[in-house]
C-alpha cells in the first residue's frame, strides 16, 4: 500500500506536468494535447514512482526503460524527462522548433532519456519486445515499459508483437494501453472497434490488469503487481489497460477528439492554468 503522502506528492507532480504540457504546446503552436493529458498520470507513476532510472546517467546499463509507442504524446514524455532532470525545463519552450532536441516525435539520438525513436504507430511496441529480450539475454533485472494508444492497437504490428512477447515469456515487459476511447477521426469504437481489449490480450496469454488511468495509487499498484505480484504474472508479459479521458484535467478539452492534434490557444491556456490552480 502506498503512503498517503506519496500519492499526494505524485498527484501534485502530475498536476504540475499538465501545466508544463499545456504551456509547451501553446508555445509550439502545434502538437498533440488530448493524448498527452490522458497519458500523463501513467507516465508520472512510471517516472516518479516505479522505474529505476538515473537522470544523471541516462545510459546506465541496468536502468528500466520506457518506450512511448504512442509517440505523438511526446510532450508528456518531455515534461517527465525535464522534471526528472534529464535536461533543463527551459528546453520545453523549444518543442518542435528548428534546431531543438525536442522533435515532434521522440528521437533517441537527440533527446537524453529517450530510448528509441517512435511515432509511426505500432513500432515502439515491437522495439520494447526487443529490449525485453535483450535485457533477459544480458542477464539484467531491468524491466521494460511501453505505452500504447488505443487507436494504435488497430495496427497489425501490435498483434504480431503481442504474440511474440507471450511466446518468449517476457515477464520483464509491462505494457500500458492509454484507453481514452478517441482517435483523430472520432471514437475508437466507431472508427474501428478494438474492444474488448482485456479478453483479447488474455487470449494471447498475457497477464491483464485494468485500472482507472487517472488514479495514481491504482496505477502504481498495477505496475508493482506486474513487477512482483502474484503467480499470474510469472512467465507472462503484463498488459495494463488504463481507462483514461482524452484531455484529462482541462474540462473543456475532455472527451474531445477535436483536440487530438490541436494545441491550446492563449485564451485556452489561461483558462486551463486557472483550472489547474496555476496562475
Amino acid at each position: 500500500m502506498l503512503k498517503e503522502e506519496t500519492v499526494r506528492a505524485l498527484e501534485q507532480t502530475a498536476r504540475q506536468l499538465r501545466v508544463e504540457i499545456l504551456k509547451m504546446l501553446n508555445t509550439a503552436k502545434s502538437g498533440h494535447t488530448g493524448g498527452s493529458l490522458s497519458a500523463i498520470d501513467v507516465l508520472t507513476a512510471l517516472y516518479f514512482y516505479q522505474m529505476r532510472h538515473d537522470p544523471s546517467n541516462p545510459k546506465w546499463e541496468d536502468r528500466d526503460r520506457f518506450v512511448l509507442s504512442k509517440g505523438h504524446a511526446a510532450p508528456a514524455l518531455y515534461a517527465c524527462l525535464a522534471e526528472a532532470g534529464y535536461f533543463s525545463r527551459d528546453d520545453l519552450k523549444t518543442l518542435r522548433r528548428f534546431g531543438s532536441h525536442l522533435q515532434g516525435h521522440p528521437d533517441m539520438n537527440k533527446t537524453p532519456g529517450v530510448e528509441v525513436c517512435t511515432g509511426s504507430l505500432g513500432q515502439g511496441f515491437s522495439q520494447a519486445v526487443g529490449l525485453a529480450i535483450a535485457s533477459k539475454l544480458a542477464g539484467r533485472s531491468a524491466r521494460i515499459y511501453s505505452l500504447l494508444g488505443d487507436g494504435e492497437v488497430q495496427e497489425g504490428q501490435i498483434w504480431e508483437a503481442t504474440m511474440a512477447a507471450a511466446h518468449y515469456k517476457l515477464d520483464n515487459l509491462c505494457v500500458i494501453v492509454d484507453h481514452n476511447g478517441l482517435q483523430i477521426d472520432g471514437e475508437v469504437e466507431k472508427v474501428m472497434n478494438v474492444g474488448p481489449l482485456g479478453p483479447k490480450f488474455l487470449a494471447f496469454n498475457w497477464h491483464v490488469l485494468e485500472v482507472d488511468g487517472h488514479d495514481i495509487q491504482a496505477i502504481c499498484q498495477a505496475l508493482e503487481n506486474a513487477a512482483e505480484g502474484d503467480d499470474e504474472r510469472v512467465g507472462r508479459p503484463t498488459m495494463i489497460i488504463a481507462r483514461t479521458v482524452k484531455g484529462k484535467g482541462v474540462p473543456f478539452f475532455e472527451h474531445k477528439a477535436s483536440y487530438h492534434g490541436v494545441p491550446p490557444s492563449d485564451d485556452e491556456l489561461n483558462r486551463a492554468l486557472e483550472h489547474l490552480g496555476h496562475s
Binding site: Q127, L131, L137, A161
Partner: protein, 312 residues
C-alpha cells in the same frame, strides 16, 4: 568451370562464425530459417536465435529493440518481404535512428526461379538505397559474402545485404577483404567498363573474355557496396574507358544502373547501357532460363558492350 556456392550458404557459415566469436550477435528470422540459412546459427545458439514467425514487421522492430539493448541483430527473410513488407519498419525503427541492425535479405532477384514473380525481388536495392543512413551491399559470390557479413558486423549502423538463392560461380578468393564503400577492379580494360553487382559480375567476366577474342578490351568493376558507392572508381572507369555497361539482377530503375548514372551525370558523362530487368516483374522458371529470357547472360552483355561502343 569455377566452384559454385550460393551466397545464402556463405551467409549461414559466416553468421555461425560471428556467433562463435561475439556473444552479442543474435539472429532473427520470419519462418524461413531453413532457406535463409539463419537456421545454421539457430542450431548452435538456440538461446540467441529468435523466430518471429511469419511477421516481418515485428521481426524488424524486435531487432531494433535488441540493438537498443546492446545486441548485434542479424534479421533475415526473403528480399521481397524485407524491403517490401517491412519497409516502413526498416525506415522508422532502423534507418532513422541509425540502429545497429543487419538485414540480410536472401532470394533477391529472378534466380529465385520456380516460385515466380511474386517472390522475385527486383526493386529492393532501389528502395533501400533511397533511405538515409542505410548501407546497401550486394556481394558477388560466397567468399565475398562472408567478408561482407564480417564487415557489416564490424560497422555500427543499419546494413542491408542482398543475397541469392542459386549457386553462383566463385570470383573472389576465400578470405578476401570487404571494405564498405569500395569496389574492386577484377579485370583491366581500356575500351569500355562493365560495372556490375551480385551474380552479374561473374557474367561480366565471361563477357569480357568473349570480347577480348574480338580485340575489345573490357574492364570489369564489381561494386559489392551499392551504397555508399565507390564514386572514384566509377569516375575513373568513365575517364579511362569512355563507355559503361552496368549489369544487375534487378530493375534498371534505381539500383546499380541508376546509382552509376547519377554519378556519371554529375561527374563525367559518357555513354551508358543499363542491363537488368526493364521495368518488368519476373515469372516462374529455372534460374538459367530466366537469366536468358531477361537478357542477363554473357552473350547479352557482349551485345550491350557493342552497342555502347558504337555510341562512343
Amino acid at each position: 568451370m569455377s566452384e559454385m556456392i550460393a551466397t545464402r550458404d556463405a551467409y549461414g557459415k559466416a553468421l555461425l562464425e560471428l556467433g562463435r566469436v561475439n556473444p552479442r550477435v543474435v539472429a532473427l528470422d520470419a519462418d524461413l530459417s531453413g532457406s535463409t540459412k539463419t537456421g545454421v546459427f539457430g542450431k548452435e545458439f538456440p538461446e540467441r536465435f529468435f523466430n518471429a514467425g511469419i511477421a516481418e514487421a515485428n521481426m524488424v522492430g524486435m531487432a531494433a529493440g535488441m540493438a537498443a539493448g546492446g545486441m548485434i541483430p542479424f534479421a533475415s527473410t526473403f528480399a521481397v518481404f524485407a524491403a517490401g513488407r517491412a519497409f516502413e519498419q526498416i525506415r522508422q525503427s532502423l534507418a532513422y535512428p541509425k540502429m545497429n541492425v543487419k538485414i540480410v535479405a536472401t532470394h533477391g532477384g529472378i534466380t529465385v526461379g520456380e516460385d515466380g514473380g511474386s517472390h522475385q525481388s527486383i526493386e529492393d536495392l532501389a528502395i533501400m538505397r533511397a533511405l538515409p543512413n542505410m548501407t546497401v551491399l550486394c556481394p558477388a559470390d560466397g567468399p565475398e559474402t562472408e567478408a561482407a557479413v564480417q564487415a557489416a558486423a564490424a560497422y555500427n549502423g543499419p546494413v542491408f545485404i542482398r543475397l541469392g538463392r542459386s549457386k553462383v560461380p566463385v570470383v573472389f578468393t576465400e578470405g578476401c577483404d570487404f571494405v564498405i564503400g569500395r569496389g574492386a577492379t577484377l579485370r583491366q580494360g581500356t575500351d569500355l567498363t562493365f560495372i556490375t553487382t551480385g551474380l552479374m559480375t561473374a557474367q561480366a567476366l565471361e563477357a569480357a573474355a568473349i570480347l577480348a577474342e574480338g580485340n575489345i578490351s573490357a574492364r570489369v568493376v564489381h561494386l559489392g557496396s551499392i551504397k555508399p558507392l565507390d564514386v572514384d572508381l566509377v569516375l575513373q572507369a568513365a575517364r579511362e574507358t569512355g563507355a559503361i555497361v552496368t549489369a544487375e539482377e534487378h530493375s534498371v530503375i534505381g539500383g546499380l544502373g541508376g546509382a552509376v548514372c547519377e554519378v556519371l551525370c554529375e561527374g563525367f558523362p559518357v555513354p551508358v547501357e543499363r542491363v537488368g530487368l526493364r521495368d518488368v516483374f519476373g515469372q516462374s522458371g529455372l534460374a538459367e532460363e530466366l537469366l536468358a529470357h531477361y537478357g542477363l547472360t554473357p552473350a547479352y552483355l557482349v551485345e550491350a558492350a557493342e552497342r555502347v561502343m558504337r555510341r562512343k
